[in-house]
Structure formats: C-alpha cells, structure tokens
C-alpha cells in the first residue's frame, strides 16, 4: 500500500502521490521540449510525436465516430500518454526498491501511482467526467435517453403485438445500461489498471526476492508490454464508451439508409 511520506495540514501526502506529480511534471516538460514549436518541416522530435498521435488517431477514429473525434481525441491521447508513463514509472531503478524506515517498519520511498487504488479511481473519475461532458455536448440528453431506453426494433419488420411489449424490455435494458455506466464501467476500469500494475509490481518484488541477479529481467520486459497494453486499453475503452452514445448519429444513419436501399433482397 501507499505510505504517507509527510503531511500538509490534515492531508497525508503518500509516496504514490509524489510519484504522480513527478511523472506528470516530467511528461509535460519532455513533451514540450521534444515537440517544441511545431514547424512545417518537422524536427526529429516533432516527427516522433506526430507519428504517435497519427497512429493512435487511425485506431481510435472509427470507434468514436466523426462527430466527437476532434473534441475527444486530445482527452484520449492525454490519457494514453499519461497512463503509459505512469505504468512505466514503476520500472525506473529505485522506484519500489529504495526503502525507508518509519513507524518501526520498512516502507518504499517511491511507488508507481497506479499501484495504489486511489490513483486509478481518481483517474477513472476524471475520465468519466470528461467523457460525460463530451457525450452531453455531442449527443445531447435526448439522444442519450432514446439510446438507453428507446425501442431499437424497427416498426416495419416487427408486428405491433410484439413491438409494444418489446419497449418494456428495452426500458428494463436501459436500467441495466445505467448500472453498467455508473457502476460496472468505472469499477472495471479502475480495478483493471490497479490490478495489472499492482500485480506487476508485486511480481517484480517476488522475483527479486527469489534471485537478485538475472531472474527479474524477463519480467521487466513483460511489464513494459503490460504497461503499454493497459494504457491502450484504458484509452480505447473510454473511446468506446463515448462512441457508443455519440457515434450512432451518423454511423447508424448510414446503416439504416443502406438497409433501406438494399431492401429485403440482400437480407433474406
């Protein structure tokens, strides 16, 4: 667990919090220096950053849809970069290995932010609020309501005797969806990130405890992989959750049109 290093008033400052701030500050400074002032002919650092942004945008754009991509992309990119570097910060020599003695026990002096559940819950809360803002801005309350509780069966194909009872089921499904949005999604996002990074940190500790030399090395490479995958998963899931509500404005429309144009010929 995270250990308090010192206190500001009643607020204990833990080693994970200090690590969060250091990494965030370092990230801002390094990206500023590397990207610099954007030029028409990119410098090497600018090309690197642009490449990374372009690669992520290609993957995320079809998920989130045309309406919200420009507004949501900075959020997703920030989440990805921040989580990636926070995850990898546990692999810096000294983080998690330098111990200090306080209250009669040995505690870690520095510890990665996401190996403490407070950090991931706060991160998920921020992402959730930002996502909620984007969804309200680009989908609007009416679309959200229809999307959650509305009847998704098409009136032409389903007879009225089945269509109206189906609405009841869709309303019940809407409540399930609400539970998913407000409970299951935030919990699974924060637990997944915490579990992976905490597990990785513990894995490295136990491997170092077995043999100090050699044995932990392969697990460091595995943690590099886990760190990038978890950062990607977090950003991608936020994209999916935003896209589920904002995307169907144009995506579904085209689908519907295509359906009508094709008629029943291709389907039956």
């Amino acid at each position: 667990m995270a250990t308090p290093l010192f206190k500001i008033g009643p607020l204990p400052i833990t080693n994970s919090m200090v690590m969060t701030w250091i990494v965030a500050l370092g990230l801002v400074i390094v990206i500023r220096i590397v990207a610099g002032r954007p030029k028409l002919v990119p410098t090497r650092g600018q090309a690197l950053v642009e490449d990374m942004i372009g690669g992520i945008k290609d993957i995320v754009a079809p998920v989130i849809g045309k309406t919200a991509i420009n507004a949501a992309f900075p959020l997703l990119m920030a989440l990805f970069t921040y989580i990636l570097i926070q995850n990898w910060s546990g692999l810096i020599p000294g983080v998690g290995t330098i111990l200090m003695r306080s209250h009669g026990a040995w505690h870690e002096f520095a510890r990665p932010a996401h190996a403490d559940m407070n950090g991931t819950i706060a991160l998920t809360a921020c992402a959730f609020l930002a996502g909620a803002f984007l969804v309200l801005r680009y989908a609007g309350p009416k679309t959200i309501f229809v999307d959650l509780f509305g009847n998704k069966a098409s009136k032409e194909e389903v007879p009225a005797a089945i269509y109206y009872p189906l609405s009841l089921i869709f309303i019940a499904v809407g409540f399930l969806e609400l539970v998913s949005i407000f409970f299951a999604r935030p919990v699974s996002l924060s637990f997944r990130l915490y579990g992976n990074i905490f597990g990785g940190e513990n894995l490295l500790h136990s491997m170092s405890a077995i043999t100090r030399w050699g044995l932990p090395i392969p697990f460091y490479f595995m943690e590099l992989l886990v760190g990038i995958v978890q950062a990607f998963v977090f950003a991608l899931l936020i994209a999916v959750y935003i896209g589920l509500l904002t995307n169907h404005g144009d995506g579904h429309g085209h689908e519907q049109e295509g359906h009508h144009d094709a008629g029943s010929g291709s389907h039956h």
Partner: protein, 69 residues
C-alpha cells in the same frame, strides 16, 4: 470426498475468476490471431476488437479478486 472439499480454504473465488478470465483472454487472442491469418489487411480493426474482448474478459478476474471477499 466431502471432508476434502470442506477443508479447501483460501481465495477460491479469486482462483476460479482468474481461471475463467485466463480462458477468455486466451480464446480472444486465439481468434484474433486466426482472424489476422485469414485477412491480414484488417489487422488494425481486429487488434481493436480483440483487445476490447481481452479487456472485458480480464475485468472478471479483478471483480473476483477485489470485490469477492
């Protein structure tokens, strides 16, 4: 047999949850690799889908580990 079952203690629900999640993640990876083999051009789309599948399967393990006490 009953006595043996009664004496099993420890984090059983965590183990079972992780087992299920591991099977799910493995199947997602298997099918993702299969799909890329069939249609290598669609690898980016398949990557997104299979990572999402893995993430959802993986979440079960953490429910079992942290929520089940």
């Amino acid at each position: 047999m009953h006595n043996l079952l009664a004496e099993i203690t420890g984090n059983i629900q965590g183990g079972l949850g992780c087992l299920g999640a591991a099977i799910g993640v493995g199947m997602s990876g298997l099918k993702g690799a299969e799909a890329v083999g069939r249609n290598p051009d669609a690898s980016t789309k398949i990557l997104v889908q299979s990572i999402l599948g893995m993430a959802f399967a993986e979440a079960v393990a953490f429910y079992a580990l942290f929520l089940g006490k």
